[in-house]
Symmetry: C2
Subunit: 228 residues, 2 copies
DNA sequence: CCAAAAGTGTTAGAGATACACCCATGG
DNA sequence: CCATGGGTGTATCTCTAACACTTTTGG
């Protein structure tokens, strides 16, 4: 039993985990085992432990629930309306995460928890105010992807330019001109062609490229603007 | 006395309040009356009450400490390293605020609390991790001011274009070309000239303008890009 | 030879940048 | 008449946007 002179809220972290599944943008949801909202789908998350930072809490919860260690993670915002949880006052720090579903497999079920990937555009009913958090996360992703190289967090080490373009189109919900897109991507100097090509495709084989993280880190220091 | 089955952290809100004082960008600080960091300068803030939202808590604290009701307020980020407060686990939700020091006077001292405005570039030693919060806030301000009309939150209803330009230069820490700046500002269609001019200045009197909030609200809906 | 996706350049227009002088006012 | 800041236009350049056909491969 823990006692305080003044009331303290509970604090949780919840993550909106984006992934690219079969060229569709999806989010990871967990089915709740406990009341309230028992049986409903919800964002993965949980209570912040007293000895861990918020970032560490988000990482730990995602590790526990997806088994993925390496992922992109950034704080989104904190949601704290007094009545957002019917049990007690719960303030949640929301995160945006991106997992690479090519290089890492995500365990769909962990310690008897049901988990699943759902289309961003058509999610099921969500517990609490999680639909609002999802909206904020999508907004952040759409805004940030235009001037930071987040796309490569979704893609395998080696990718084709068409994959990159389709991903941008999916996230931004608008078509991009192929020639202008390729010019711009290659003009950054951070997307480097390999001498490898697709195999066994029934059309001209696409060239593979990789993202040069070092070049990005160097250039991003000096106010470099990515910009799609 | 309040009891919980699991330990709960304390949650506070802290605000970085920016204001334009004599053409200098300043922040509002409060001198701490209590341990820890008694006597040190700190960001204004305090504990979140159980029945108020985070935004409401930030507004209430600022009202109590500055007497200002109308101000620009936006959530910045949440800081929660386990050891950021020596007493107990305290997670703080940081806000960025802007007060207009032309139209509203801020009471420098409130209920026996010492308060003061300090240059952003040269603040005193701050309590807790508040220097990190300040850095994040300044970063947010510099980023956001380029594509959202935040400058007008600092300025009086009626202002001159030179005031606007100097403010941009102050915040962005770089000079701007006068003619190009004026073209761009006027090109937005949201900064409207008045038939009023400065009085009693020992040089050509500058024209006054006002910011058309309605035009901004309409245009910002349709993906309008401010951009300086 | 057909279907399917990869790959490739040029042109026109819009927006950004660079730049220098005259004007109005108070002292 | 001098000091101080207010106010104005043009030329160049860069970046963006629009646009259509040829290439490669498997079936």
């Amino acid at each position: 039993m823990y006692q305080y002179e003044y009331p303290h809220p509970a604090v949780t972290v919840d993550s909106v985990v984006f992934g690219l599944d079969n060229e569709e943008l999806k989010i990871l949801l967990i089915r709740r085992k406990l009341e309230p909202f028992k049986g409903a789908w919800a964002l993965p998350g949980g209570f912040v432990q007293m000895d861990e930072s918020l970032d560490d809490a988000a990482k730990r919860e995602l590790m526990e629930e997806t088994g993925v260690e390496k992922l992109y993670l950034e704080q989104l915002a904190t949601f704290g309306k007094p009545d957002r949880d019917p049990r007690e006052r719960v303030i949640t720090v929301a995160y945006v995460a991106i997992v690479n579903l090519f290089d890492h497999t995500v365990k769909a079920d962990s310690d008897a928890e049901e988990a699943g990937w759902f289309p961003v555009e058509d999610p099921p009913e969500l517990a609490f105010d999680h639909i609002k958090i999802l909206a904020a996360a999508l907004n952040r992703l759409q805004g940030k992807i235009r001037y930071q190289p987040l796309v490569f967090e979704f893609l395998p080490e080696k990718f084709t330019l068409s994959q990159v373009q389709k991903l941008y189109e999916t996230v931004l919900c608008r078509p991009l001109d192929k020639r202008n897109f390729r010019k711009k991507i290659q003009g950054t100097g951070m997307v480097i062609p390999l001498d490898e090509y697709e195999m066994d495709v029934s059309h001209r084989a696409a060239r593979f490229y990789y993202f040069d993280r070092k070049a990005w880190e160097e250039k991003s220091g000096e106010g470099f603007h990515f910009s799609i």
